[in-house]
Amino acid sequence: MELSGGQIVVQCLKDEGVELIFGYPGGAVLHLYDAIFQQDDVQHILVRHEQAATHAADAYARSTGKPGVVLVTSGPGATNAVTGIATAYMDSIPMVVISGQVPSAVIGSDAFQEVDMVGITRPCVKHNFLVSNVADIAETMKKAFYVATTGRPGPVVVDIPKDITDPNIKVPYAYPESVSMRSYNPPREGDQAQIQKAVDLLLSAKRPMIYSGGGVVLGEASDELRAFSRLLGYPVTSTLMGLGAFPATDSQFIGMLGMHGTYEANMGMHESDVIIAIGARFDDRVTGKLTEFCPYAKIIHIDVDPASIAKTVKVNVPIVGEVGIVLKQLIAEINLNPRRVGVEVLAAWWDQVKEWRSVNCLEFDRESTLIKPQYAVEQLYKVTAGNAFITSDVGQHQMYAAQFYHFDEPRRWINSGGLGTMGFGLPAAIGVKLAHPDADVACITGEASIQMCIQELSTAQQYQTPVKIINLNNRYMGMVRQWQEFSYQGRYSHSYLEALPDFVKLAESYGHVGIQIDKPEDVTPALEEAFAMKDRTVFLDIITDQTENVYPMIEAGKGHHDMRLRVAPGTPIDRELA
């Protein structure tokens, strides 16, 4: 079969099993778009800004486990995609981004819409390619998908000059069955001697903790994590990225850890003597001050990426391998070992954890006449029966979502954890809805974040992706305001949003439903109304308490045991004591 470069790219996508791609056309990719026009197997979703294409594809990947695919033109199309590529890179999301490039003959001449995409994206991709020959497209595409989806996943950019997709130049096409690269062999099984050491440590612990991360979600190892945790009966905490891998409603789960994690999770980490970190990378938002991080603990660390191990925190037992496989190895080894942590020892540890839990660190003022953002998320959880896919933007609302929407399944919580990209939520929700048309999809956002990709309301209209936008509108960049309150004596420098649009009218102008509420008693009915409209995108603008803060909080430069709580432990919850 002889095909042109443009046709080959599309055929590669088909052969790779890609059903959906997100993109925006332009000069350098016109041949490619012409090839897309002449087929029906690969559906193209036209976004309104290339950043949104990357976020939508990224969320499609997060919610399905399949790689997200993006197609953008050269120059500004490519640079607009960079924020989304970096977002995917920081959270290890498998994505293939095809960018057009100016014709080979003019590369380097500052041609119209030319930018060195391979150079610009080098620090924020797992790998990238510049295709220099039509005959190389198929193998390059195969490698791109292989690299993006194996080992520690990540985005891969394939930059294709316009002449390479010329419809008049045809070459024989065959998609490679497999690919092997001598320089890339991601690890799978963990070293058996290390497994043995880990089991010895785990079974001799007195105050053990299971610290699970996004790698468990990415590695499809949720079942193994559950089996492993239940076998041992130890407390389980999770990073922001790992939420859902272990059920949040399980009594063994003690909440998220880190900067806005629960009191019990952070105190548990601080006091623990043996910690097993599973697919987590000791991010600074998790560890707090490194010199005070887990001072009593011996640490076991499972990660598929050796560079994640001992990057910031020294570990006692590193295990390099796929988390799912390593967890199975650990389970098998534990089953062979008759030894167990004493019932009384474990019970004493749980008693301590329960005492911390009784501080009720997430409690908030339920008597307020203003809508508390926590209350809105809590009601969202109830109205959707905990079954929705939740995307979020970045800021206070993101933390409320993580704290108050209790995820029992992996891949339901879709947020930009590593890069912290405002503007992620809405395009992400569209990507998730396209992947799961029958599921409830809500974007928990704020009036600042939502405006960073608000143009995607148009995409939602074009493709009829009925997502629910839960806008926690406090007329502030809430997290910035909170830090300014705590650390800058309330000098709210540029964190106040003046000239907000009328979100109801804005939603309506895009053909969606807009609802605004400002009373606590309206929250549940409004949510019910929104979710009852199965085929409509609803923008629910919730006017919340402007001064509410996210608690608990480990402020920058402090340790896990040094948390700022809304009220001191033991004090009845009162209004805004902190």
Binding site: G119, R122, K126, L130, M181, R182, P306, A307, A310, K314
Partner: protein, 163 residues
């Protein structure tokens, strides 16, 4: 501590910038870097001299290994090895010091490879330390120009970095 990291890397466009970019992005320091194709034309061999604590060097080697183009690497500081660097140095000469500079070059087993009435160009190979010592030894004379390749090296004995 000083480490000499020897890398086999795919001989592809942009491979060098991936390595250099990694060092600048992660704040590692590169003391010197040499790169050239090997007898296998699909591979380049890169020798990189860096300094850092054991933790930093561990991260550097892990991050380098993580680059898709890097096929293999070894830290020569971990093994008994031979290290060489090439230096060309141009020294201004006066009738009064020409003999002295030539003698000094001989002591260090350097070769004078270009001569004018007012200058010598001396070629010298050796460990980086030896080259430093030579530069110090003739520093009382007027050094016009120095160019050094940076260190390169191989492990001693049969051990080798091959596929």
């Amino acid at each position: 501590m000083r480490h000499i990291i020897s890398i086999l890397i795919e001989n592809e466009a942009g491979a060098l910038s991936r390595v250099a970019g990694l060092f600048s992005a992660r704040g590692y320091n590169i003391e010197s870097l040499t790169v050239a194709p090997t007898d296998d034309l699909t591979l380049s061999r890169m020798t990189l001299v860096t300094r850092g604590s054991d933790e930093v060097i561990e991260q550097i080697t892990k991050q380098l290994n993580k680059l898709i183009d890097v096929v293999k690497l070894t830290d020569l500081a971990d093994v008994v090895h031979v290290e060489r660097e090439l230096m060309l140095i141009k020294v201004q000469t006066e009738p009064s010091n020409r003999a002295e500079i030539k003698r000094m070059a001989d002591i260090f087993r350097g070769k004078v490879i270009d001569v004018t009435s007012k200058s010598y160009m001396i070629e010298m190979t050796g460990s980086s330390e030896k080259l430093d010592a030579f530069v110090a030894a003739i520093s009382e004379h007027n050094i016009m120009e120095i160019v050094r390749t940076g260190a390169t090296g191989l492990p001693r004995g049969v051990g080798s970095l091959t596929l």
